[in-house]
Structures are given as structure tokens and as C-alpha cells.
């Protein structure tokens, strides 16, 4: 399946290569570089590139291209999903998935890649299993290893590999038993010029951090499970139970994992927590344009809107922006024409605004289109869909775990057209 993997950094250098079958010359990446040159933006490189003898499937994450070389028919999503899993694993192991981190830990990276694929077919991708095979590097362990000469590599086959719960390792022990669940919802919306919603939907995930001794069997139930329209589960969730009772029943993996992602049924009206008043205008023949933005809260259920960040790609003709924010700071990059305004928290009494003028290139004609405004925000302790966890029970173990549930609402792809 996957023949080779090349890691390419933002400046177009191959800084790591790994082959699972016969060695493929790195010159095969020339086709990729060609595509990279043709693409105006880094994101515009097509994910699948055919070459005379191979196919290159690439993903871009953290400004690194992971380019997999394929020789014959394979479902492209198979490769893409796997590459993303590789990135997730690196992130899990090194905290960040950057070129520097990969170069520093090249041996661990190699050991991981060796375990994750055999002959190009995925072998062990479950984080719990990998961590038993290859222990993540920590400063303490590195020091101990250099002194004692012990290694990061496990000697026994992880029990999970053979058991019916391959995602959980055995012999887990904690002094403090705790289970935290974060319900995070994201609002994707497109708001048109006049402020009416063109499309809006809510996507949510439940991320868990479970540190429980032994083999706990958890059940999580919701007050209003009907809200969930479409769901996808971590493999640990028992599908039958969900079908029958709408209860999440599972033996959790150890550590951090995504338990559930869901989509809230589209019949429900989506509450839009912020509104934007804008007045952006360019006049024909004048080299100045007016720019005014005001943000305000709307349908927030009494919660504060925090970490607001407004960004907008201004038209190419704009030379510079001379704006004054009522709160927060703004930056304008004259090269990429990207305007970003870090607003912070919205105070309903004193609405944040950004006013001023933008200067256009002299002689340039008036831009056809006003820029689109992208907004990011966070609302703590609120799941905007109204989803509520009813209770969390544990079976199979005797101790009493500490349980915690946190709600949060964020902006997903939240765009306002002006």
C-alpha cells in the first residue's frame, strides 16, 4: 500500500524519508514540488498527484507536507486518514508536530513508523499500544536511559494487541482516579450582508481524559440525546447500546481520546451568539476607503463571549489600513493583506469597534467585492445546542472516581459576508 513517506517542510526541503518496501528515489517528489510551485497557497496543492509510475498522496499539517508514495490502487482516504493518524501520534509523543521536534526525535519517529506500518499496511495505530511498544520521550526518561542504558522499547507484546479491547492497556494504576469530559461545540455559519443567516450548524465533540485504575466500564447518558442527529464513535463505544437506549457504554482507553463527535440535527434553529455591524466602502476614483466594524453579543444565554478574534482578507488593491480599535489590538500585513483584530472579551455595555480608513493603491480600480470577515470566539460553560450530560456511572471497579464535565462553545467556520 504505502511505499514510502517523505516529509517536506515549508521551504520545500525533504527532511525525512522512510521506505517500507524497495527504496523509491526522492526524485519522485519533483512532481510534488511542481504542484507546490503551481499552487498559489500552500493549501491549494491537490491531495492526490499522479506521476508516471507512482501516485503521491499528501496531507498538510503544521506547515509540513506528509507525502506518501503509492504504487497501485488503494482507497485514497485510507492513506489520508493514516497520514493524519501519524501526525496525531507525533503530536501525542512530542507535544508538537514540528520539523524541529521530528528532527530531534528522529529515532523515535523511525521506531514509530516502523511499528505503525508493515509492508505499507497499518499494523499498530492505537496510541495505547504504541506507547507500550515505544515509550514517549520525556526529559526524565532520557536522563535515566543515558545513565542506566535502558531503552525506550518495550520487550513484550502489548496485551491490548490481542485482547478484545485493543485500545486499552492492562495494568493501569493511578492513585487519583479521575475522568474528565469536555463537551465542545462549534458553530459553523455563513451570515450574509444584511445579517441574516444563510447557513448555520452545530458540530460537537466529547473529548475525554480518563485516568482510571484497572478495567473500568463507564456509561454516560444525556438528558436530551434526541438532539444528536449524526454521531461517530471511538471504537470503544458499544454501538448496540447506543442504538437501543441512547446511552454511551464503553471501556475507555487510558489517557486522552475523542469519545464522540456529533452533529446537531438541522431542524433545530441555531442560536448565533454574536452579531457584526459593518460599514466597509470604497469609492470609485478615491484612494481612501471607509472601514467600520462593531461586534455585539446576541443569544449568549447570559454567558460572556471571550477570546474573540476577527480576521479578514482585504482586497489586493489595499495598500495600508489606518484603524483604531476601541479595545484589543489589530495588525495588518501589507504583503498578505490580512487584517486581524484580537478583540478579547465582548463587554455588552461597551461594544468593541474598529474604525478608520484604508488606503488603496493609487490608480487601482475599486475592488468588486467587500472582504469576508472570519470570527473566532469562545463561550465557556455553555453548549449552545443545549446538550446536557445526565450522569456518568462506573462499573467493574470498586473505587470512587472523581468525575468532571466541562462545556464550551466555539466558533467553527464562522463567516460574515459584507
Amino acid at each position: 500500500m504505502i511505499h514510502s513517506l517523505f516529509l517536506v517542510n515549508a521551504s520545500g526541503d525533504i527532511f525525512l524519508e522512510k521506505h517500507w518496501k524497495s527504496v523509491v528515489s526522492r526524485s519522485v517528489c519533483d512532481y510534488f514540488f511542481e504542484a507546490l510551485e503551481r499552487a498559489t497557497e500552500p493549501e491549494n496543492v491537490p491531495p492526490v498527484i499522479p506521476t508516471p509510475h507512482h501516485f503521491l498522496i499528501n496531507v498538510l499539517r503544521h506547515r509540513i507536507y506528509f507525502v506518501a508514495v503509492i504504487q497501485s490502487e488503494v482507497p485514497p482516504l485510507f492513506v489520508i486518514e493514516f497520514l493524519h493518524r501519524v501526525v496525531d501520534t507525533f503530536q501525542d509523543y512530542f507535544g508538537v508536530c514540528s520539523e524541529a521536534a521530528i528532527k530531534d526525535n528522529v529515532v523515535v519517529v523511525y521506531e514509530l513508523l516502523e511499528e505503525m506500518l508493515d509492508n505499507g499496511f497499518p499494523l499498530a495505530t492505537e496510541s495505547n499500544i504504541l506507547k507500550e511498544l515505544i515509550k514517549p520521550p520525556t526529559i526524565l526518561r532520557t536522563v535515566v536511559n543515558t545513565i542506566t542504558g535502558s531503552t525506550n522499547v518495550g520487550e513484550q507484546l502489548p496485551t491490548g494487541q490481542l485482547s478484545v479491547v485493543p485500545w486499552r492497556r492492562t495494568g493501569v494504576k493511578y492513585t487519583n482516579n479521575e475522568a474528565y469530559f469536555d463537551v465542545v461545540e462549534e458553530i459553523d455559519a455563513i451570515i450574509d450582508k444584511s445579517g441574516s443567516t444563510i447557513t448555520a450548524e452545530i458540530q460537537g465533540v466529547i473529548d475525554a481524559c480518563v485516568k482510571l485504575t484497572g478495567m473500568p466500564d463507564l456509561t454516560l447518558s444525556f438528558m436530551n440525546p434526541r438532539l444528536l442527529d449524526d454521531v461517530s464513535f471511538h471504537p470503544c463505544v458499544r454501538f448496540k447500546r447506543w442504538e437501543a437506549e441512547r446511552i454511551l457504554s464503553f471501556i475507555p482507553p487510558d489517557g486522552n481520546f475523542r469519545l464522540l463527535s456529533y452533529h446537531v440535527s438541522s431542524q433545530n434553529l441555531v442560536a448565533i451568539p454574536v452579531y457584526v455591524k459593518h460599514n466597509i466602502s470604497f469609492r470609485e476614483g478615491s484612494s481612501q476607503g471607509r472601514f467600520e466594524l462593531t461586534l455585539g453579543p446576541k443569544q449568549t444565554m447570559g454567558k460572556a463571549v471571550e477570546s474573540v478574534l476577527v480576521s479578514s482578507q482585504l482586497p489586493r488593491g489595499v495598500l495600508n489600513a489606518n484603524l483604531s480599535p476601541s479595545q484589543g489590538t489589530y495588525t495588518f500585513d501589507p504583503v498578505t493583506k490580512l487584517l486581524s483584530w484580537d478583540v478579547g472579551k465582548i463587554n455588552p455595555q461597551k461594544l468593541p469597534s474598529l474604525k478608520g480608513s484604508v488606503s488603496l493603491q493609487t490608480g487601482a480600480s475599486k475592488p468588486d467585492e467587500n472582504p469576508t470577515i472570519n470570527i473566532q470566539f469562545k463561550i465557556q460553560q455553555l453548549a449552545i445546542s443545549g446538550l446536557k450530560v445526565n450522569r456518568l456511572d462506573m462499573y467493574g471497579e470498586k473505587y470512587k472516581p472523581f468525575k468532571g464535565i466541562k462545556y464550551m462553545t466555539k466558533a467553527g467556520k464562522f463567516q460574515v459576508r459584507t
Partner: protein, 1000 residues
């Protein structure tokens, strides 16, 4: 000037030296690594390996370190070992001979009690792409396929593909292994073996029949990657085995599935219906449905394509939501999913229409995502939603991404042709865009308008006039060509403007692009036919220009047009029809999706994404008209028996069977043993009475032994039996497991007895060596040894220090002028070999020499034994490289035994070669001499004239090595039979050279 030249030369020189110093630095660094690898410290070796892996990762060549690295393959340190594996797999293909040195280590590891080590040994062994070890790989795969650990079996399934790509000739053998593994009930193995099936023998659909239901039922528990592969395979399978659920008259009832599993009566009612789904077909659909909820996007896509290709049309809608959910995922996932949705949405608009808003374009989307969303929106457009879509399109047209804006215009064009209600609205909108400032937008609009106008030209002369006015401002060739074509085609609607445009074009003809020139010629021709009075001269002028154009297409066209329209004597017939040819009404172009023809590929495949067939793409067959026999999928499953008493009874019977089997076996063994004994005593010239007494003695011994053995066995069986009971009482789910364990017990016992009987049957008598070579090899030269020199010699005698050791004679001499003290071998052994050291020599006088003996366990490999020879002051690293022939001990056996054993070691264990003998070598003496000088093996008396037989065993493991040389004038066939295939092939090579070379 000269100065400049000189300095330039200097510069070049410095550059050169710089370069070479860099090269040097690299080799020095490698030297450094080599030293570290050869050191005694594990930590240094590990550090060196880590650096080497770093080099490999960067794509630097580290192949010259191969000999140094490969020595560490047997290291005890697991991380070091793994890194050596990484290295080995990377470079083995380039260094095939050296790679062979490591094989025996893997062969040993394949028998390790730790399943992880067994599995990783198989993984690496099968990843070494060295054709010579194909038989070893084959053997290892076959063995691993029956391993108790499912993890090892999974690795075996992976190894199948590797071996197949290395040597496709093994296909038939591999298919046997695949067939065996397909029956495996472990979820761990299922995915991998199906992968192997797809790679090696995707056409052997018959292998799937019996496993079809099992695979369907296991599917949910298989790991996610395996799920994808299995689902794709089952899709293909189902298309060959079931009839189409899509027939026009297909009446489907949700209850019919129930009908199959419930009562007879209902079934009869069902059968009157025109279409009934095969229950196996239904089973597949039902068991894959939960996987739509998988977090793995590839699994969701795989299930979606399965439903698309297999499910009745009205059940398709369940995949929609899941596919739309995937759009929230990463950009690359979106890309592939959108492509598939685009193909689906052409055939079935209804599926995605409710989710139309999910395909609205965001300004932050990548260009290829935007284009795909546009494609889907266009596919989804119908009378009801067109106004919403057009409003959305209007926003896109203004996008800063001009390529996307152009694509939107095309999409508008498509909507306009597909939905006649909005054609006018679209056309008006597009005309407005003609005054857009951006050139690409204008050009695209012109092209689209041209296509639209073709549908109803008469009503739109205004638009054509408008475009003629804009003509001067448009520079994009495609757009200019389009306008010219419109002018020519509808010149009757714009009689005044068209000749004027032609006049302008005549002026600029030479500066236009080729595509525009062609259209100018066209326009001229058409105008000549309709309005020759005004344009005759212009046309001739243009035709003359075209005649001398640089482009041959244009010259051709000009020539053709001239012959067609200008009447002269030669071109009689055709010019009459010129008007009908040129002014024929042309059918309006059909604007259709670029995804129209993609449905020829299976969804979710690479070929579908690229819209061209990728290598290895397997065509999805059409539904068969008549369903093939369903019963092929029936399996005689041992149904879990509900009644526990029957269950237990069954077990009881089994155990009884086993017991009797054991009893019989033990009896036979003891019998055979006693026979053997009597044979022996016959040979020895002892008296009858003695014989009988000894026989009875041995009989007694055996009997007690037998009883003991029986007791032990009974104990084991009892415990197993009780265990089974306990397990049974807990749950009947463990039924299968129990079966397995019991079977294993049987197998285990059988094996044990086989082993016992084997040892008894074959008498392997060690014999003294036929020939002891006198040559000794240098271990340490006196110059490097600071006066101490050492030589070693293989004595070919059984070693007194250990059964698995090769005995060596060491001659140490002191050529310095000082006495050397305390000569010994250091305790630290750098390689894995077990070495028996000689006693330290306290003092060696100048010019004196001493001979000592030592033993080395080479583990049946030719890997060199490295150790440190120490004196009081110094340490010298030395190594002994054994020739393969020295790893053997001679044995004697009868000729009959020889042929019998040879019969057991056929197939993979046999290696043979044909050589041409030198005439002076043909005599029996010389053949014998040559063979025994190469290897320490014994001569077996032969009754046949031209066949010479030799037998030996390997020192460490005691495996038989049988050599026979058959002379067929002038050729000779050397055959070597041994379990140790590597030793076999190495020996063969040495015999070949020895027997073909003349001389002593």
C-alpha cells in the same frame, strides 16, 4: 586580467579542497561509527545506531557500514536490535551476500517463546528482499501461519504479500497459505489476510465463499484498517454473487429479511414477489451499517461505496448524513469525499439536496475544494432551488479568487442550459458580467454566453451586438475566438456589424493567436457566402495572409476554405454545397458535469479520484443475471449446543479419544525402542542369555518409564479437562476457545511423541573425521600483536567443552625479545557466541610457542566470533571466521537410512546444482577427498557406482546435512539436503568451486 584569472583558479582550487575535505569528514565520521559499533559497550553501539538511523532518515547513504551493523543483529538489547532491523531492511537489497549472515539469527528467533520476538523476526526476515532466501521465507510463513499467537499469524499474512512481490512464482504455495489463514477466526488476522488475498489472488473468489459469513460477522470487531480492505473486497464479491436489487419492478419490503429467518409460511408469500434479496446480501448490508459511525473516514467512505454499489436504491439515503459529516474533517478528506459526492449527485440529486447548504463555499476553502462544491451545487440545482443557488453564485462571481469566479460562470451556464426557466435570467446576468473589470471573468462569460446563445440565437441579436462592441477591449484569445464565431454563425442577424468586425480583424490578423486566426478565416468564409458584395476583397486579403502563415493548421484551413468557397474550374462539385456545409445549423452543446463519466470507476478508489485507471484497479463486475449457487457459502459450523449435557458429553468423548491415542502411541514408542535395543544387542556379540536378560531389563525400564509418562500425561489432561469444565460453566461463549485449546493439546502431544519416536528411529552415530586439514589460519599477526602471534586450526574433533561447540587449536608464539605474561581471552565477549576460553598462559618466553585448544559455539552460522586476546599489557581484538564446512560433524549411517532421511528433507530443504567435472576429478578417490576437505562430513558406503554419499550434522543444533554427488559423465549433480537452508546453499557453492577446480 591575468590576476583575475589566477584568483579565479585559486578560488576553484579552494572549492575543490573544501569539497574533498567534506567527503573526508563523512568517511571519518563513518569510521568513527564503525569503531563505536565494534566496541564492547552497548550504550556506544546504541548511540552509533541512532546516528546511523538519523543518516538513513536524511536519505544519506550509510550502506558501507553494513558489515559492522549486521554483527549486532543478535544483540540482547532490544532497542539496538530493532534499530539494526531498521538498517537491515533498508540496505539488505544492496548487500545481499552480507545480509545472509543475519538469516540464522532470525531463524532462531522464529522459535522464540516470546510471540513479539517471533513476529518481529518474521517481519524482518520477510522484509529482506534477497531472492536467495525465498525458500526460507516460504518455510517461515508456512510455520507462522499455524502459530498459536494470532499476532504472529497476522505477521505471516503480511509476509505473504512481501514474498509475492519478491518472487511471484511462489503464488500457488502462497494461495494455500492464504486459504488456510482465511479460515482463521481471529479478528486480528482477518484484515491482513484479506489484504494478502487482494494482492496475490483477487480473482480466486471461490476462496471467499466459505468464509463470507464469518467475515461479515467479524467485521465490526476487526481493526479499522482491516475493515476498509474487507469491505472493498466484499463489495466486489457481492457483485458477482447476488442479483441486482435495482430492478425496475423491485418491490422491497422491510419485513422480508425477517421472513427469511422466521416462519416458513411468510416465506412462501414472499416468494411470489418479483425480487427477494439473498439473505447473505442482506447480512452484508446489515453488518456494515454500524460502521458508518466509525471515526475513521476511510471506513465510512468504504461503507458508503458499498451501499452505493450494493444496496437497494431507497436504502441509500442513510449514507448521506455520514458523508456530509466527513466534510467537517481535514481538507484532504473533504477533497476525496466531495469528489465522490459529486459523482453520486449526478445520478441521485435527491440524496444530497436536503444538505445543499453544507456545500456552500467559504472564502477560506482551498481552490480545489471550492470547485468541487460548485460542481455539486450545480448538480443539485433544480427548478425549486435554482433561485437560492443562483443567489449564492452571485456572491461567488465576485470572489477575489478569479479562477473560482470563472468556474462559477461556467456553473451558471450549466444551470441555464439544464433548467430552461432560468436561461434568460442567467443570460442577462452573464451579459452584465461582460462589463466586469477582470479579464478572466469577461472571457469566461463570453465563452459561456456563446454556448447559451446557440440554443436560441434569433432572440439575442442585442447581446451579439453588445459583444461586438466589447470586442476591442477583450484580449483573451478564447473569448475573442468565441465572439468571432458568434458573428460568423449569426451574421444574418447582425448584417451591418459583421463586415466591420472582419475589416478590423484583417488589420490585426498577423498579431492574433492561432485560435483567433482560425475563427477569422471562418468568419471571412461565412461572410463571403452571405454577403460577398461587401466582403469579397477582405476575404481574399485574409486568405492570402493565411496562406503564408507560420502555422500549418492555418495554412491548411485557408487552402481548404479557398477551394470550398471561391469557384474555379477544378473544384466543381463541392463549392456548390459550400453554403450548406458552412452554414449548417449546429446542435447546441450540452454542458455537462466533468464527473459524468466517473461512475465507471468504483467509488472511493484512487482510480475514481484521478478519473483514470490506476494499476491494480479491480473492475467491479456487473450483477449476474441469475444468482450463482447460494449453497457454496454454507459452512458446517459446529452450532453452539444449547444443552450443556450434550456439550460435556461431546468433550468427554473427545478426551477419551485423545487418551486412547496417547496410550497407543506410548505403546508403539516403547515397542520401537525395545526393538532398537535388541538390534543393538544383536550387533554386539554377546551371548543369548545376556541378550535376553538385557532385553527384559530394558523392557522393565521402559515400562516404568511408560507408566511415569502416562501418569504425567493423565495429570495434564485432567487439569485441562477441569479447566475446560470451569470455563464451560462460566460461559458458553468460550466454546471455540476450548475447542482450540483441546486441539492444541492434541497437536502438542502428537508432536512430542513424534519427536520421541524420531530420535529413536534414526541412529545418528558420530564418527571420527575422515580428513583433518593441516592448514592453519592467522588470528593475530606478530606485527599487530606486538610480538605475539596467534594461529588457529579447526581440529574437526567433537569438542570436549560442550556439545554444541566447534573445537579449535590455537598456536601462540612469542616473536619478541621479551617474555609475555598472562595471555588469556578477555571475559567480555562482544558477539553473542559462547566461547570456551583456554586457561591463561602465565608466561611465554621469547621465541617459544605453545598450543592450546578452545571451543566456540557458532550457533550454526558463519558469523565471525570476535573476542579479545589479552596479554598483561595489551588487548587485541581478533575474530575467527569459520568456513561453513567446519560447522559440521561427520556421522555414519546405513545407505538405507540415508535415502530415508533424504526423502524427509525434500522440497525447500533441498538444494542442488549441476556442474561439469574436470576429467581428473572423476575418480571416486578424488571426489571423496575434495568433498571431505571442504566440509567435515563422513562418507557413507554406497552400493551404486556413480553416486557418492556423505553425511554430517551441524554442531550446534544437530540438524542432518546430507550430501550426495551423482556422476553422469561429464556432468555431476550435487544435492544437499538439510533443514538449515542457508548452510545448505553455502555448502553447495563451496562444493561447486572445489569440484570444478583442478588440483589437489
Amino acid at each position: 586580467m591575468r590576476n583575475a584569472l589566477v584568483s579565479a583558479e585559486n578560488l576553484q582550487l579552494t572549492l575543490k579542497t573544501d569539497f574533498s575535505s567534506e567527503e573526508q569528514a563523512l568517511t571519518i565520521k563513518n569510521e568513527d561509527l564503525k569503531e563505536m559499533l565494534e566496541s564492547n559497550k552497548e550504550s556506544l553501539k546504541l548511540e552509533a545506531m541512532k546516528r546511523i538511523v538519523g543518516l538513513i532518515a536524511k536519505g544519506k547513504n550509510a550502506s558501507e557500514l553494513f558489515p559492522a551493523v549486521v554483527k549486532n543483529v543478535a544483540s540482547k538489547n532490544i532497542e539496538l536490535k530493532k534499530l539494526v532491523y531498521v538498517y537491515l531492511v533498508r540496505y539488505a537489497e544492496e548487500q545481499q551476500d552480507l545480509a545472509l549472515l543475519s538469516i540464522s539469527t532470525f531463524q532462531r528467533a522464529l522459535k522464540d517463546p516470546n510471540q513479539l520476538i517471533r513476529a518481529s523476526a518474521l517481519r524482518v526476515l520477510s522484509s529482506i528482499r534477497v531472492p536467495i532466501i525465498v525458500p526460507i521465507m516460504m518455510l517461515a510463513i508456512k510455520e507462522a501461519a499455524t502459530d498459536l499467537s494470532p499476532y504472529v499469524r497476522k505477521t505471516a499474512a503480511h509476509a505473504i504479500q512481501k514474498l509475492y512481490s519478491l518472487d511471484p512464482d511462489q503464488k500457488e504455495h502462497l494461495i494455500e497459505v492464504i486459504e488456510k489463514l482465511l479460515k482463521d477466526k481471529s479478528t486480528l488476522v482477518a484484515g491482513s489476510v484479506v489484504m494478502a488475498f487482494e494482492e496475490v489472488c483477487p480473482d480466486r473468489i471461490d476462496l471467499i465463499h466459505k468464509n463470507y459469513r464469518k467475515l461479515c460477522n467479524l467485521l465490526v470487531d476487526v481493526e479499522e484498517w482491516g475493515q476498509v480492505v474487507i469491505i472493498h473486497m466484499l463489495t466486489r464479491y457481492a457483485r458477482t454473487q447476488f442479483v441486482s436489487p435495482w430492478r425496475e419492478d423491485a418491490m422491497f419490503d422491510e419485513n422480508n429479511e425477517k421472513a427469511f429467518y422466521d416462519s416458513e409460511e411468510e416465506r412462501k408469500v414472499e416468494q411470489t414477489r418479483p425480487y427477494i434479496m439473498d439473505p447473505d446480501h442482506r447480512l452484508l448490508l446489515r453488518n456494515t451499517k454500524p460502521l458508518l459511525q466509525s471515526r475513521n473516514t476511510a471506513v465510512v467512505m468504504a461503507v458508503s461505496q458499498l451501499y452505493w454499489h450494493l444496496a437497494p436504491k431507497h436504502e441509500l439515503s442513510i449514507i448521506t448524513k455520514s458523508l456530509v459529516r466527513l466534510l467537517r474533517s481535514h481538507r484532504e478528506v473533504q477533497y476525496v469525499v466531495l469528489q465522490n459526492i459529486a459523482t453520486m449527485s449526478i445520478q441521485r440529486k435527491g440524496m444530497f439536496e436536503p444538505f445543499m447548504k453544507s456545500f456552500y463555499v467559504r472564502s477560506t476553502d482551498a481552490t480545489h475544494i471550492k470547485t468541487l462544491k460548485l460542481e455539486i451545487l450545480t448538480n443539485l440545482a433544480n427548478e425549486a432551488n435554482i433561485s437560492t443557488i443562483l443567489r449564492e453564485f452571485q456572491t461567488y462571481v465576485k470572489s477575489q479568487d478569479k479562477a473560482f469566479a470563472a468556474a462559477t460562470i461556467q456553473a451558471i451556464g450549466r444551470c441555464a442550459t439544464n433548467i430552461s426557466e432560468v436561461t434568460d435570467t442567467c443570460l442577462n446576468g452573464l451579459v452584465l458580467l461582460l462589463s466586469n473589470r477582470d479579464e478572466t471573468v469577461v472571457a469566461e462569460s463570453v465563452v459561456v454566453i456563446k454556448k447559451l446563445l446557440q440554443t436560441q440565437p434569433s432572440q439575442h441579436s442585442d447581446i451579439i451586438k453588445h459583444m461586438a462592441k466589447l470586442f476591442d477591449n477583450i484580449t483573451v484569445p478564447m473569448a475573442r475566438a468565441s465572439i468571432l464565431w458568434l458573428m460568423g454563425e449569426y451574421c444574418e442577424h447582425v448584417p451591418k456589424i459583421a463586415p466591420d468586425v472582419l475589416r478590423k480583424m484583417a488589420k490585426t490578423f498577423t498579431n492574433e493567436e492561432d485560435i483567433v486566426k482560425l475563427q477569422i478565416v471562418n468568419l471571412a468564409a461565412k461572410l463571403y457566402l452571405t454577403n460577398s458584395k461587401q466582403t469579397k476583397l477582405l476575404t481574399q486579403y485574409i486568405l492570402n495572409l493565411g496562406k503564408y502563415d507560420q502555422n500549418y493548421d492555418i495554412r491548411d484551413r485557408t487552402r481548404f476554405i479557398r477551394q470550398l468557397i471561391v469557384p474555379n474550374e477544378k473544384s466543381g462539385a463541392l463549392s456548390k454545397y459550400a453554403r450548406r456545409i458552412l452554414m449548417a445549423p449546429k446542435p447546441a452543446p450540452v454542458l455537462q458535469s466533468a464527473f459524468k463519466d466517473r461512475d465507471r470507476f468504483q467509488l472511493g478508489t484512487l482510480s475514481h479520484t484521478l478519473n483514470s485507471q490506476a494499476s491494480g484497479y479491480l473492475e467491479l463486475s456487473d450483477w449476474p443475471a441469475v444468482a450463482p449457487d447460494q449453497s457454496v457459502r454454507n459452512v458446517e459450523v459446529v452450532e453452539p449446543v444449547r444443552l450443556p449435557c450434550i456439550f460435556i458429553l461431546f468433550y468427554f468423548l473427545k478426551i477419551m479419544l485423545v487418551l486412547t491415542y496417547i496410550c497407543v502411541h506410548v505403546e508403539s514408542v516403547s515397542e520401537s525402542e525395545s526393538e532398537e535395543n535388541s538390534d543393538d544387542s544383536n550387533k554386539s556379540s554377546s551371548s543369548q542369555s545376556e541378550k535376553s536378560s538385557s532385553e527384559s531389563d530394558s523392557e522393565k525400564k521402559k515400562k516404568t518409564l511408560k507408566n511415569k509418562k502416562l501418569q504425567q500425561l493423565l495429570l495434564i489432561i485432567m487439569t485441562k479437562y477441569i479447566l475446560i469444565h470451569i470455563v464451560l460453566s462460566i460461559s458458553t461463549q468460550f466454546f471455540v476457545n476450548c475447542m482450540c485449546s483441546l486441539l492444541h493439546l492434541c497437536v502438542f502431544l502428537a508432536c512430542q511423541f513424534d519427536a520421541v519416536s524420531w530420535h529413536v528411529h534414526v541412529s545418528l552415530q558420530a564418527s571420527s573425521p575422515v580428513f583433518v586439514p593441516e592448514t592453519s589460519h592467522e588470528l593475530l599477526h606478530r606485527m599487530t600483536g606486538k610480538g605475539l602471534s596467534a594461529q588457529y586450526r579447526f581440529t574437526r574433533q567433537p569438542c570436549i567443552y560442550g556439545n554444541s561447540m566447534v573445537s579449535l587449536q590455537l598456536t601462540l608464539s612469542n616473536s619478541s625479545d621479551q617474555a609475555l605474561e598472562n595471555i588469556h581471552i578477555s571475559e567480555k565477549s562482544s558477539t553473542g557466541q559462547n566461547i570456551h576460553r583456554f586457561n591463561a598462559i602465565e608466561r611465554l618466553e621469547p621465541q617459544a610457542s605453545v598450543t592450546v585448544s578452545m571451543g566456540v559455539d557458532f550457533n550454526d552460522s558463519t558469523q565471525a566470533a570476535n573476542f579479545q586476546l589479552c596479554t598483561k599489557e595489551d588487548e587485541f581484538s581478533v575474530s575467527i571466521q569459520p568456513a561453513v564446512g567446519e560447522l559440521l560433524l561427520p556421522i555414519t549411517m546405513s545407505e538405507a537410512d540415508f535415502t530415508k532421511e533424504q526423502g524427509k528433507l525434500m522440497g525447500m530443504n533441498e538444494s542442488s546444482a549441476t556442474i561439469t567435472m574436470k576429467p581428473e576429478n572423476v575418480s571416486s578417490q578424488s571426489v571423496n577427498r575434495k568433498v571431505v576437505s571442504v566440509a567435515n562430513i563422513g562418507v557413507i558406503p554406497s552400493s551404486q557406482e556413480n553416486i557418492y554419499r556423505f553425511a554430517g550434522k551441524t554442531v550446534s543444533s544437530g540438524s542432518l546435512v546430507l550430501v550426495s554427488v551423482a556422476l553422469k559423465d561429464p556432468d555431476a549433480v550435487i544435492t544437499i539436503n538439510t533443514e538449515k537452508t542457508v548452510i545448505g546453499s553455502m555448502l553447495l557453492r563451496q562444493f561447486k568451486t572445489a569440484l570444478t577446480n583442478s588440483g589437489p
